[in-house]
Symmetry: C2
């Protein structure tokens, strides 16, 4: 019996999401190197293996260590943290390790302190303004490629970018416009350097673009991650439908307030995360879906989490729902941001009753 | 050496925060039953024991199990989750367990399924509109007290409230106004029922009120929690100074952007949490403090986290800071909400170099 907040994984939906992205990559002749920071689980990773996936992406060296038990080709899609040089050296002995660089300082540090060989990608800023070099700054980019090339320990693998600005989009059309510019920036730089480095590739990220766009001309590899589960944020962006969401947090009802048309659930910021959406001018932290068997079905109209404390969720509910619900029953919450919810919950219960463990540093 | 995001605990500041609250409680003749959901650590709990604390508050039955190793009087300040009746029965055998009730259904369920004895508080809504009964609804309150009294397994301990609406205050004056109303509501109900139940107590919560208010007439017990560490949210509320904050997240710098006057740190939403403050119309997720020895000092003007992804923090920095910082160096981030940051980090490094473990469900 479920006694406290529990993250339920709908295996059928999850596998369908994986298969769809695998087919899409095949159709466009792209290598799919899925980002595993969303599910963080060896068991879910095996579902990708069954679909023929060979290389993966992670967001930390710790996560790379965890997945190196079963994966031998891992890209850490985060600017190299040179303080973890010992972990890098340990990992580089066991697997093909691909790291991101974006400064001469980091490249020189790696060249000096590496004990084995690794591959590096130069991170480009495709408009997200988080990390990466300006694609227009070809002088600096060339200086980095030369410094990498001069190192006997570093292999220059190409350029990598993440069009994270798609998260501000609110329709397929907007995603396609953002994608078009971001992709062009990545492909142009890669093409410009290809005469000198014929084997380099262009690696492109973000779930919204990879979910809805069809123009990947010039791209060699894609690295979406969130699509494995999707979430309410991806629905709002226009990247999926709510029925594609493959995880829901089952939460016990602990308090009912008829006067305010609210119920309080055991399920708070330490379970769902404080990531939020704005809809009709108000914040929301999750939406309720209809319970069906050991899983869930469609969204229940008019039922969403309006605020979260550490352990409490305050849910605005419809009159019908208020009439039916009793203290001690379970509600199923679709998360705003499944990556953050999964990271907090550290385990899944499948609709078949199996417990799936995750990376737990 | 610190290689990745690490939560540093300044033992001196933390112990000073504890001592100050202990003295305040003594001065007002209040029992201090500190909320341990902030630090979630047996080791930090021992610093409270050294100050004479005997009973504690937690926010979940799991946390109660963890602390029951060293504490024998625990209040779970969360509406009883009847699905965890087995855990309740196990705990009730070992410790004095105090639970919160706010419905006849929960009371009847407990009476039927308990195998031992527990104490219950009736949760009152002191204006926070999260959980609890309306203090004006004396008919319903009396019905609950009678149902509790009729049970041989339940001891009625009194009324408990949490003036969480102080979190919307922005000055000491505002906190005092909110506190005055909230406290009166709690005390009035307790007094009204005392002729019938002479041994009941009133238990009052929230760090802002307990930090700055001086009128606790009629209150028997206080349950602040966050004060053990404080954080930027408490500074904004007006409950503490930034130099009272006893935890900071040490984060490696991984990327520097002179054009945008920004640096990117290894330290994201899975370390700090997505809790945010709004200052001058913009969101912020943490502020940098001056590194001093193995700890930190004053806030650095003009340096704050402007956005967080899963592992990245984007920090707006001052011109001076930008000039001095190098990739691979550490910055010290004061958290917006220390409870959420501690819950994510699951361990502390003291400024003395000791690692302190936490509840890890």
């Amino acid at each position: 019996m479920i006694t406290k907040p529990t993250l339920i994984l709908d295996q059928q939906k999850c596998r369908a999401n994986i298969r769809k992205m695998v087919l899409k990559a095949e159709m466009h002749g792209l290598k799919l190197r899925p980002h595993f920071k969303t599910h963080q689980s060896l068991a879910v990773g095996r579902w990708f293996k069954e679909e023929g996936i060979q290389g993966i992406t992670v967001s930390s060296l710790g996560m790379a260590q965890y997945f190196s038990e079963e994966w031998s080709d891992i890209t850490v899609a985060f600017p190299v943290n040179i303080r973890e040089i010992n972990t890098i050296n340990t990992l580089a002995k066991r697997i093909n390790l691909n790291l991101l660089v974006e400064s001469l300082e980091s490249i020189r540090f790696l060249d000096k302190h590496l004990t084995g060989n690794i591959s590096v990608f130069i991170k480009l800023n495709l408009g997200n303004d988080r990390t990466g070099l300006d694609p227009k700054n070809l002088d600096l980019i060339e200086k980095l490629t030369e410094t990498i090339d001069a190192s006997s320990k570093l292999k220059f693998s190409g350029f990598l970018g993440h069009a994270g600005q798609t998260y501000k989009c609110r329709s397929e059309k907007e995603i396609k416009e953002v994608h078009s510019l971001a992709k062009a920036a990545l492909v142009d730089v890669t093409e410009a350097l290809r005469s000198r480095f014929p084997d380099i590739i262009s690696s492109y990220g973000d779930t919204p673009s990879c979910s809805v766009c069809d123009d990947f001309e010039g791209v060699d590899e894609i690295r979406p991650g969130n699509f494995v589960f999707y979430d309410l944020m991806q629905v709002q962006i226009g990247a999926c439908e709510s029925n594609d969401i493959a995880v829901a947090l089952a939460c016990p009802v602990v308090s009912i307030h008829h006067d305010r048309k609210e119920v309080v659930i055991y399920g708070g910021g330490i379970h769902l995360s404080k990531d939020r959406l704005t809809e009709n001018g108000a914040d929301l932290f999750g939406k309720l879906a209809e319970p069906i068997g050991s899983g869930w079905g469609d969204l229940i109209p008019g039922c969403h989490i309006k605020s979260l404390s550490q352990e409490h969720g305050v849910v605005s509910v419809s009159t019908k729902m208020l009439k039916d619900l009793k203290v001690g029953e379970l509600v199923y919450v679709l998360p705003v941001h499944s990556c953050m919810t999964a990271n907090l919950m550290k385990a899944y219960l499948t609709d078949g009753g199996d417990i799936i463990t995750m990376f737990n540093p």
